[in-house]
């Protein structure tokens, strides 16, 4: 398809599936879906001409018409395989081909006052509650992937932790895509009320065929509330992935995001947070690209109110013909005095054909702020390699040790043991180099 055909083909498809999408009886949602569809139809997928997309060409996605799995059958899941991604001591919500699977999910052991359920179910049970949040952290005008997602989403997850509650165990939402050409479009809303706390893990996995997985997560963190969100993007190697996380932080809230992007052929991840008075955010990311992978991370931190703190560290390891993109933007509003912000992006290029594009942007409209940013794109440090060699370590092992140590810094930040070990394992199996050992830590 051409970019023009995309604009007409998808809306043409829409008529066939519209009635099968969740939330039919919810009038505000019907309006929103229509607007989003119109918005997508007028733009199509983003093009390289757009500043926010200049390093990421999504035209490969246009070659196929991915369709939501409402007409076709939801695929079967190999549970042994799925279980290797399931974390211990968590509640799990499994979304297969974009649909909640009750049999594969496990929501036992949560307190009665906490709401953790699938989005389709939530739209039936709590449509008024959802109306307060849906589309409030991100509008479909953000860009056409968000519009696309709003129009087509088939299910998702709704988490609401009431004030002062602490979610007793982390919730893991596992997105699985089972078949070639399938599309999974999911929508999540996470609400952490004042002084509440939660940890949520988003895991993305899928088959080895080409498919499209898109997930938009809206997050609302109340006053003095706390959320840690982990994203483990382990899509199949031919997959297209779009993920967007949009956060609104109230006063004194804390938000931590750990983003591990290892999978997919073309993966784009957007994170945005709006910081309230004296709130804090920490954005950590690690992307590992091999073969011909293209991994794009976009972050935006909006300091809207005074005294907020943001810390960001993204690291990329790019080998073979992979390309990594980092665009990090920090905006400090006029009112946001005493802002403290640090942003860093460090890229390690392991082959001559690998590429890293990094673009930090600071826009500061307040005068009493502390903002720093730094980026590096480079190879392994020759002095360090020589130092290790002078300590009996052969050159190849020295290189592997340094590469692994570089990446592992991000893994070490993960305090949930089972998750930490899983990420480490995923990292080790993906490194093209042989002989990397966990023992080096």
């Amino acid at each position: 398809m051409s970019a023009e055909q995309v604009k007409s083909q998808y809306p043409a498809e829409y008529g066939k599936v519209e009635a099968l999408l969740p939330g039919q009886s919810v009038s505000w949602l019907n309006v929103l879906r229509k607007q989003a569809l119109a918005s997508f139809s007028s733009q199509g997928f983003p093009s390289l001409r757009e500043e926010e997309w200049r390093y990421t060409n999504v035209s490969a996605i246009e070659k196929k018409l991915f369709s939501p799995v409402v007409l076709a059958e939801i695929g079967a899941v190999d549970t042994d395989w799925l279980n290797t991604y399931r974390l211990e001591n968590t509640c799990s919500v499994v979304l297969v081909d974009g649909h909640f699977s009750e049999t594969l999910s496990d929501l036992d052991g949560l307190s009665e006052s906490v709401r953790v359920l699938d989005m389709a179910g939530a739209l039936e049970q709590y449509p008024e509650d959802l109306e307060q949040y849906f589309g409030q952290a991100v509008s479909h005008e953000e860009h056409s992937f968000v519009a696309f997602n709003a129009a087509w989403f088939t299910d998702g997850l709704f988490i609401h932790v009431p004030a002062k509650e602490i979610l007793s165990k982390p919730v893991q939402v596992i997105h699985v895509v089972t078949q070639a050409d399938y599309m999974s479009n999911t929508r999540h809303i996470i609400v952490i009320d004042d002084m509440a706390q939660a940890e949520v893990i988003e895991t993305f996995i899928g088959c080895d065929e080409s498919y499209l997985s898109a997930a938009v997560t809206e997050v609302f963190i109340g006053k003095n509330a706390d959320l840690t969100l982990y994203k483990l993007q382990l899509e199949g190697e031919k997959a297209y992935h779009f993920g967007g996380t949009y956060v609104k932080q109230d006063a004194d809230s804390r938000f931590k995001h750990h983003n591990f992007a290892f999978g997919g052929l073309l993966a784009r991840n957007d994170i945005r947070t709006d910081l309230g008075l004296a709130s804090e955010c920490e954005l950590n990311g690690l992307y590992l690209g091999i073969k011909r992978q293209h991994i794009d991370n976009h972050t935006r931190i909006n300091h809207l109110k005074p005294h907020a703190i943001s810390r960001e560290l993204y690291k990329g390891v790019l080998d073979q013909r992979a390309r990594g993109v980092f665009q990090g933007r920090v905006v400090v509003a006029e009112d946001a005095q005493k802002t403290s912000s640090e942003m860093n992006n460090r890229n390690l290029l392991l082959s001559n054909d690998a590429e890293a594009d990094t673009k930090p942007q600071l826009e500061i409209y307040a005068d009493d702020v502390k903002c720093a940013h730094g980026v590096t794109v480079g190879q392994l440090d020759e002095k360090s390699i020589f130092y290790l060699q002078s300590r009996c370590v052969d050159e190849e092992t020295a290189r592997n040790m340094l590469t692994f140590a570089f990446a592992n810094e991000m893994v070490e930040k993960i305090k949930i043991k089972d998750l930490h070990d899983q990420i480490l394992e995923q990292l080790l199996v993906r490194f093209p180099q042989e002989g990397i050992e966990q023992e080096w830590l």
Binding site: D381, E382, K383, S384, F386, Y387, L388, Q389, S390, R391, C392, V393, D394, E395, T397, A398, M401, L402, F404, A405, F406, N408, E409, E439, W440, L441
Partner: protein
């Protein structure tokens, strides 16, 4: 142990070592002194195999083998150890792991089995005590955030564990306070043995008070311009390098 003959080394087009001759026998301690920029660190780097230097002339024989022909890690495994003037920080690789990896690589090279975990810990803890270090340093990343003096001490800890035959110490004394100098010197002295030699690069007599050299050399402008007994260091301290340079000229 080590025989350097007419060694000429350039960086790019720039000659730095211009015919160095040096014979170090087993069990001997040699000191090299000399003005800044004379080529002392260059010599230590070339001996340990750092890239970026071109040997344009000369030979280096170590235990009868051509040293310059060996990869850096092979030299290390064969027992050539360099304590760096500026040790590198390696974030993310723990000190204790590197010690173990180094020791095992060396043992494998010598045809010995890898050291077992318990024996290794006993060995390391003993050496940590010898150098009056805190055991916490073992579990930190290699040199990361170490003070100047702590880095130097860590270099000697590595030497104490690897027990190399040819120990090259490049300004190990610089950055050490007086007490630390005594501890490090005691560590070095405990390594002195009939089958182990030392090449110590230093600017100060002070180190030589603690570690008595057999021979002192002056390296100036890429050549060894004078050699003598320990008294040469005292003379240098009193008269400066211009005294030697005048004598040579």
């Amino acid at each position: 142990m080590l025989s350097i003959k007419n060694l000429h080394v350039s960086v790019g087009d720039k000659p730095i070592l211009k015919g160095v001759n040096l014979e170090i026998n087993a069990g001997e301690v040699h000191a090299i002194m000399g003005p800044n920029g004379a080529g002392k660190s260059t010599l230590s780097h070339v001996l340990s195999g750092k890239s970026g230097y071109t040997v344009t002339e000369g030979t280096v024989t170590y235990k009868g083998k051509d040293l310059l022909d060996m990869a850096p890690e092979i030299r290390a495994r064969e027992g050539v150890f360099l304590a760096f003037q500026y040790p590198v920080e390696i974030p993310g690789v723990s000190n204790i792991y590197l010690l173990k990896a180094a020791l095992n690589a060396m043992r494998t090279h010598q045809g010995l089995p890898e050291v077992d975990a318990f024996d290794f810990l006993t060995l390391v803890k003993g050496k940590v005590k010898l150098l009056e270090m805190d055991e916490k340093f073992l579990y930190r990343s290699v040199n990361e955030g170490f003070s100047g003096g702590e880095k130097k001490r860590n270099e000697i800890l590595q030497a104490a564990i690897l027990e190399p035959s040819m120990c090259i110490l490049d300004e190990t004394d610089s950055g050490l306070d007086i007490d630390a100098l005594k501890v490090v010197a005691a560590g070095v002295n405990s390594l002195r043995a009939a089958d182990r030699s030392f090449l110590m690069i230093t600017h100060y007599q002070r180190l030589l008070d603690y570690i008595k050299p057999d021979i002192v050399h002056v390296l100036a402008d890429g050549r060894i311009v004078k050699s003598g007994g320990p008294e040469l260091a005292l003379e240098l301290e009193a008269k400066g390098y211009s005294w030697v340079e005048e004598q040579v000229a």
